[in-house]
Amino acid sequence: MAGHSDSSSSEKKSSEAMNDVLVFSAENMQNNTKVIYYSRTFMSIIGGVIAGILGFTGFMGFVFYFLVMAITSIGLIAKAKFSVHSYFDSWNRIILDGFMGGLMSFVLFWTFAYDIVHIF
């Protein structure tokens, strides 16, 4: 535990599981949560533009949104080197957080791109 240096620049270790009681550094965890939120928002905007350009309609578009969210989750987990518990307090956070907020941005940019490209 002593030899670990913080190799990832954006996510910080937020728990040291050295005791029986897990200790969380609140500030680091807040920072990690913010990182997740930003990543999801950004990816949902880009995903919306892509979906609009490619002409997805209806159900396919929402499937694409789930796909983009899943890719984001996998990317975040990979960045945390698969040891989720030392960066976040539960699995749900890294998978489900920011899901709904991203949906609205996705729909907006999807509509926008779809209209501009296909119904111009």
């Binding site: 002593a2 200790v23 907020g101 941005s105 729909v107 907006l108």
Partner: protein
């Protein structure tokens, strides 16, 4: 799909894009105006003192497991002792503070200012959209909706056979309203985005209620069961140092 309307290019240039641009700009403007208008109220001496006591008690509760039991207990007694403990406030005194805060004009003005700065730009923009951009199909949303949404989304358009996916500009306004929140949080940093529902919840829960929070801190402190989490830390330190030296 039954029919595939071809919409005028000019609609794209003069409706969708200006509306989005205007909403983004208004959001940024509101953020800066709020920042400039944030008046600093001089905090009341007594309230600050009580606030600090609460913070201390909360720290004690959070970190209780890291100090040995012998030092935790006197600290707890210091806070929650019945006669002269810091968290024990007699009932009569508590009521006064609350009444005073409600009639304080400064706080009421601040709340009103914040509420207004939230609501006025939205109302103005909505009225503007309704006045200028009504009566034509503005956009097509890429997913189908049921007939019930027709009245909500197509209110300027008086044809009932048009597919529900073709919406008026009012619905484009609402779509922007919700969707640009994420964009604002990226541009403006942190959660300064236009989270109106969150702000309204903050407004309704009044804020600094000293008597109740003191009592709740006292209860919380009484409940804490001390469990020393670092009984073996000397061994651990030894192991770590050994690894370093090797």
């Amino acid at each position: 799909m039954a029919e595939d309307l071809v919409l005028d290019t000019a609609i794209r240039d003069w409706v969708l894009i200006p509306l989005s641009v205007v909403m983004v700009l208004i959001g940024i403007l509101r953020y800066f105006v709020a920042k400039l208008m944030r008046s600093f109220q001089v905090p009341d001496h007594k309230i600050v003192k009580e606030g600090q006591v609460i913070v201390r008690a909360r720290n004690l509760r959070a970190a209780a497991n890291f100090i040995p039991p012998k030092s935790f207990r006197p600290r707890r007694v210091y806070f929650s002792n019945e006669e002269n403990g810091l968290l024990f406030v007699p009932k009569g005194q508590a009521q006064n503070a609350q009444a005073q805060m409600f009639s304080d004009p400064n706080m009421a003005m601040d709340m009103m200012k914040k509420n207004l700065s939230m609501i006025i730009p939205q109302t103005l923009t909505f009225a503007w959209v309704n006045f200028f951009f009504s009566g034509f199909v503005a956009a097509k949303i890429p997913f189908p909706l049921t007939q019930r949404f027709r009245s909500m989304l197509q209110n300027g358009i008086d044809l009932s056979t048009v597919d529900v996916s073709y919406v008026s500009s009012r619905s484009w306004y609402f779509l922007n309203l919700f969707g640009l929140r994420g964009l604002f949080s990226l541009i403006l940093g942190e959660e300064n985005a236009m989270d109106d529902t969150q702000r309204m919840m903050q407004m309704s829960g009044f804020g600094f209620d000293p008597s109740k929070s003191l009592a709740s801190e006292k209860d919380g402190l009484d409940i804490v069961q001390h469990e020393w989490a670092l009984p073996k830390f000397e061994h651990r330190a030894e192991a770590v140092l050994k690894k370093l030296v090797r």
